[in-house]
């Protein structure tokens, strides 16, 4: 057995390099192109920014049922109000981005697609109420943008929603 051990004894020098990884990491907040218009209210805001912030603040969030993307009956009035708001003379020159969001369940592509379908349903609802489709873009943030971070039904209800960003 010891003879076997001696004959099988092998000394190998193994170098582990892995994949050389450059640092520092990429910071995506730098040099990533045009950023979304900020809607934060502060003293340095221009009239345009104040108008955008006002429109966003007056828009009504649309809420959805669990795992659904159809517009609920109780949300139709909010769709109507938003269409009227975005079709006012002062808002007509802006584009509207509809952001679809989901509750915390699921961490996959399906959740992002669900958020997109919610945004699309809202867009279709706005178009049905007279908005020009070309003014409206949609995006999904999946579960990445919770309005509420507690873990209960009331909170999940608040997260299944579509919100609006006004773009110059």
């Amino acid at each position: 057995m010891s003879k076997l051990a001696l004959t099988s004894l092998a000394v190998a020098v193994l170098v582990l390099t892995g994949c050389s990884q450059k640092s520092p990491e990429v910071d995506m907040t730098k040099d990533t192109g045009k950023m979304d218009t900020k809607s934060t209210v502060d003293d340095g805001m221009s009239a345009l920014q104040k108008l955008i912030a006002s429109l966003e603040a007056n828009s009504k969030t649309i809420y959805f049922d669990f795992d659904k993307y159809n517009i609920r009956k109780d949300q139709q009035a909010n769709i109507d109000a938003n269409a009227a708001l975005f079709n006012t003379q002062e808002a007509k020159g802006f584009s509207i981005k509809v952001e679809g969001n989901c509750d915390e369940f699921g961490t996959d592509e399906y959740n992002y697609a669900l958020g997109l379908k919610r945004a699309k349903s809202v867009k279709d609802g706005l178009v049905a109420k007279g908005m020009v489709a070309d003014r409206i873009t949609v995006v999904s943030y999946g579960e990445s943008n919770p309005a509420c971070t507690d873990h209960n039904k009331a909170c999940w209800d608040k997260n299944r929603r579509a919100e609006f960003k006004v773009l110059p």
Binding site: M1, S2, A5, L6, S8, L9, A10, V11, A12, V13, L14, V15, L16, T17, G18, C19, S20, Q21, K22, S23, E25, V26, D27, M28, T29, K30, T32, G33, K34, M35, F66, D67, D103, F105, G106, T107, D108, E109, Y110, N111, Y112, A113, L114, G115, L116, K117, A119, K120, K123, T137, V138, V139, S140, Y141, S144, N145, P146, H151, K153, W156
Partner: protein, 422 residues
């Protein structure tokens, strides 16, 4: 003798487990018992030595090919009559390591000893230029000893994991790690960056989606030179779901007309072809059958489920006839692993389980029993699945060893896992 015994026992186990969907409920517990000895110089920090020891012991256990004696033992590297036999421990084998460190690098000498004869059966030396990557060194040592006993490959332990984690609303980071999360290196920060996907087998680059511009954009980050380039932008949502074996083609989920469908993107010609065409949701494309077909998730039956179709064939085949909310899947060869929400109720929080099916049989194997088990991904072999485990507002990487029927969890200390690839 030990090698022959192990090979025989593993052959028995594997023979009965050739179909991974068949769960092994009774197995022979005759794995070789192994002890690990630390023979490092006392100049090396004891805490680091113990950490390294724990990694090796953990790897041996996760391999499922050893019966691990997990007591921390010290010895000289040369060994002696007592150290080479450990008679009181009744072990079959001893793995003895001696690690040394410099400012940036580290090295290890490793002996494998037959505890029945006291003879050294193999000896290896390892050099690691970047000592921060020491978990990979531990994994490599265990991969080698696993190969020495003739056990099925655990090469997957060497694979790097790339994952995205949420750190706050609309903010996430992309990190490269080993499978235990012991090594972590942050690669992308700032804003929302999600769905990282390795670009090639060498893991020298990865794709990811950034939400920081006007539209979601897929970038490719090359780890060799740190360069980053934009691949494609699109409205709505944009995800690189899979990469072909040769790295030349991507399966993208795109929504150019506000409608999520699966597209084939050729990285050489930059041509895009639409594969699926449905007014609902089609997402999560995965190549199968030598990249000629895909499996994907669709709600075309009114609920998310797993389907397949050819790249150039519009005929859609339903792959799963179980569950009413199967929202994520991964495929390898003849196997599909998917997550299924057990209860359509929104209150059933702990209700996502993983299931494994074979395209060749009708059998379904349940892989998890409790909690939120999501985002399953096969390793390079059919025997290992990685997934995301969410529990009590925290996240962990899960590893399922299918033949051994064992699951391990590695907790993420901060943040919430968004997606993984390895």
């Amino acid at each position: 003798m030990i090698k022959k015994l192990v090979v025989f026992c593993l052959f028995m186990v594997i023979s009965f487990a050739s179909d991974a969907t068949v769960e092994i409920v009774k197995r022979m517990d005759v794995l070789p018992k192994i002890a690990v000895q630390d023979a490092s110089n006392s100049m090396v920090d004891l805490n680091f030595r113990r950490t390294f020891f724990k990694l090796i012991v953990g790897d041996l256990r996760v391999s499922s090919h050893f019966n691990v004696h997990d007591e921390y033992l010290q010895s000289s590297y040369e060994g002696g009559p007592i150290e080479n036999f450990l008679s009181d421990k009744k072990v079959d084998m001893i793995l003895r390591f001696k690690i040394e460190q410099t400012l940036n690098s580290m090295s290890a000498n490793v002996k494998v000893i037959n505890a029945k004869t006291g003879a050294t059966t193999s000896e290896n030396s390892y050099q690691l230029p970047d000592k921060k990557r020491y978990p990979f060194l531990a994994h490599k040592i265990v991969i080698d000893i696993n190969a020495q006993i003739g056990a099925p490959s655990i090469q997957w332990m060497e694979q790097s994991v790339v994952f995205a984690k949420y750190v706050e609303a609309k903010k996430s980071e992309i990190i490269i790690s080993d499978y235990t999360l012991s090594y972590q290196k942050t690669m992308v920060t700032g804003g929302l960056n999600i769905f990282p996907k390795w670009a090639n087998k060498e893991q020298s680059a990865f794709y990811y989606t950034s939400y920081n511009g006007v539209e979601p954009t897929i970038y490719k980050l090359d780890l060799r030179d740190g360069s980053r380039r934009s691949v494609i932008s699109g409205s709505g949502m944009l995800v690189c779901s899979d990469v072909s074996q040769d790295g030349s083609k991507l399966l993208l989920t795109m929504a150019p007309k506000d409608q999520a469908d699966i597209y084939l993107y050729d990285t050489r010609t930059r041509k895009i072809n639409k594969i699926t065409d449905y007014s609902g949701i089609d997402v999560n494309g995965n190549f199968i059958d030598n990249d000629q077909r895909i499996v994907f998730i669709s709600d075309r039956l009114g609920y998310p489920n797993v389907f397949a179709q050819g790249i150039n064939d519009k005929n859609v085949e339903q792959m799963v006839y179980h569950g009413k909310n199967n929202n994520s899947a991964s495929a390898l060869n003849n196997y599909i692993v998917y997550s299924s929400r057990e209860d359509k109720s929104e209150f059933g929080r702990n209700t996502f389980n993983l299931y494994l099916i074979s395209t060749k049989t009708d059998y379904i194997r349940q892989l998890t029993a409790t909690g939120e088990n999501l985002f399953p991904r096969f390793a390079k072999d059919e025997d290992t699945v990685m997934f995301i485990k969410q529990f009590q507002n925290r996240s962990a990487l899960g590893i399922i060893r299918l033949n051994a029927n064992k699951t391990y969890h590695f907790e993420l200390k901060t943040g919430k896992l968004q997606s993984i690839d390895w």
